[in-house]
């Protein structure tokens, strides 16, 4: 927590930037990654353009091995198709590639997560009388269960990090412990939740999400205040390494190229 007294304003990057860079760093070179649109796609492409040139990006719309020059605004942008090794139909993506067990990392966004990293993207309030109707499941339930591991990236807030989800769209660790394995879910589950404040990882035994990384300039109190349950803090809490200049430049160039091409900077759905 040596960086707790530093404010983000004195460092040359935004909270979203360090979240993106931290998420990106988790992707090892050569990983086969099933990418959600928005922040996951930004982080995965940043990884490809920096430390992980051999990362394989698969989008649910069909492109395998996409190498987009700008960020896609939708899951089916033409640039994904034009730069891919091949483009297959969406059924094949889900049948042969995801369910087939060929995905190392599923990279997901979320509207809400709970302390066992279960994901809600369906509804706030009762299903039959929703307060807010969210877009729904998309590819997430099967990505969350069938990718060998899952990274979740979303911004920290008490509304997003809730003690109990109104609806479990996609399984994290269910009720914790070995509940996930007992339910017969093949993949290891969410091994990291990356936010604009830090990184949460599951306790090896209980599977409760624990703050194991904190971004420079952020305090533990800030993270606790932004979390809707009594967040456990790792005794071994690490401060996130600040993004190096090269990576930040690559990220900003990517956003600039995207803005020039599309007139906007990122996609959410």
């Amino acid at each position: 927590m040596s960086a707790a007294e530093t404010t983000t304003s004195t460092l040359d990057f935004t909270a979203t930037e360090i979240m993106t860079v931290a998420a990106s760093r988790l992707l090892k070179d050569g990983t086969v990654c099933f990418v959600g649109i928005g922040l996951p796609s930004t982080a995965a492409n940043l990884a490809r353009l920096t430390h992980a040139p051999e990362v394989v990006l698969i989008y649910e719309s069909g492109p395998i091995g996409a190498k987009p020059t700008v960020l896609p605004l939708s899951i089916g942008d033409g640039d994904l198709a034009l730069t891919a090794d091949t483009v297959v139909g969406t059924p094949e993506i889900f049948r042969y590639w995801l369910q087939g067990g060929r995905i190392d990392v599923g990279f997901l966004g979320a509207a809400q997560v709970d302390h066992f990293a279960n994901i809600n993207t369906t509804v706030i309030g009762p299903y039959d009388a929703p307060k807010v109707r969210l877009p729904g499941a998309g590819g997430a339930p099967e990505i969350a269960s069938q990718a060998k591991e899952v990274f979740i990236v979303l911004k920290h807030s008490p509304k997003a990090f809730v003690a109990k989800l109104p609806f479990v769209t996609s399984a994290g660790y269910l009720d914790g412990g070995d509940a996930r394995a007992r339910a017969g879910i093949p993949g290891a589950g969410p091994t990291a939740v990356i936010t604009d404040l830090g990184i949460l990882t599951p306790d090896p035994v209980t599977k409760e999400l624990t703050l194991t990384g904190i971004h420079p300039g952020v305090t533990v109190e800030q993270v606790k205040a932004a979390t809707g349950w009594d967040l456990r803090i790792s005794p071994d809490l690490k401060t996130t390494e600040i993004p190096d200049a090269e990576t930040l430049t690559a990220l900003r160039d990517l956003h600039a190229r995207t803005a020039a091409a599309h007139g906007q900077t990122g996609g959410e759905g």
Partner: protein, 286 residues
């Protein structure tokens, strides 16, 4: 053999009130023109099927075409909510909308099952999700060899599937390429099908193993250049990301939505007319 015919006639003869209708296209090649024509012709009581209901389903739902929606992700890609869809689900406006909700894997497999004339799709899916609790059409079966539990959902068999493609030849054979989504499966799962195309050519010049839908497997082929707008057709047009953003404020208010639909869709004759009026209104907005 597919009939090469104007879109208005294809919709008039092939889409009936109460039909189960799938308009497919995964971000790419979304058949917006056909959706507008269904709205113009005032179809009611449709069961709309689509993996990713987006702007065109927001419009159809807001205009009261749909009794039910079968889907897996309903949003404005890159922007946010579908306000007309939300208003129908949250407030029952313009009337109550029944929903049957799946995951993408479930929907994609359900189309495959439909194209394969199987009554249900078999997949590893939905484990740990609450979706089976709210959708009685998600069931589980046992493998007769390993006793594993697998998810089962009913095949999707639309009365009519509508897609947009790059080109057709004069016999009505259709070629599409790029992001293919579930269009082939959706067409082959359906009893009838309408394909709008960018152009009609003498020779498809299809590469080996291309996605070609033979004329005899289709009902109607309709030339509608740009008919996917604001979606795109690879090799012909770019996605108009500005329109997706512009849709958000239009769709937030019931009155603004209705006025916009009146001016741009109901008061225009066809998709070319829509594009002309849209160009005018966008100029006004600047």
């Amino acid at each position: 053999m597919a009939k090469i015919t104007p879109l208005r006639e294809a919709v008039a003869s092939l889409v009936q009130d109460g039909d189960t209708v799938a308009l497919e296209g995964f971000t790419h090649l979304i058949p917006h023109a056909a959706g507008h024509e269904i709205i113009r012709q005032g179809r009611r009581g449709l069961t709309l099927v689509r993996m990713t209901p987006d702007l065109i389903y927001d419009q159809m739902i807001g205009m009261g075409c749909a009794a039910k929606l079968i889907f897996s992700w309903g949003g404005n890609p890159g922007v946010g909510s579908l306000h007309r869809f939300r208003d129908a689900v949250e407030q029952g406006w313009p009337h109550r909308l029944e929903i049957e909700e799946h995951s993408h894997a479930g929907m994609a497999n359900a189309y495959v099952a439909g194209a394969s004339n199987l009554p249900f799709a078999l997949l590893r899916g939905y484990t740990g999700s609450d979706l089976p609790k709210v959708n009685p059409n998600i069931r589980f079966v046992e493998c007769p060899f390993t006793a594993e539990k697998l998810a089962a959902i009913p095949a999707v068999r639309p009365d009519v599937t509508v897609i947009h493609a790059q080109k057709a030849d004069r016999r009505g054979n259709v070629l599409l390429w790029g992001i293919l989504g579930v269009q082939k499966e959706a067409v082959l799962a359906a009893k009838r099908s309408i394909v709008t195309v960018e152009e009609i050519v003498d020779d498809l010049e299809a590469p080996p193993n291309a996605c070609v839908l033979p004329s005899w497997a289709l009902s109607a082929v309709c030339p509608v250049p740009g008919g996917a707008y604001p979606s795109y057709a690879q090799g012909y047009s770019e996605r108009d990301n500005r329109f997706y953003k512009a849709w958000d404020p239009i769709a937030r208010s019931r009155d603004d939505f209705r006025a916009w639909m009146q001016r741009h869709v109901l008061d225009t004759d066809d998709f070319a007319g829509f594009r002309r009026v849209l160009a005018e209104s966008m100029k006004e907005a600047v």
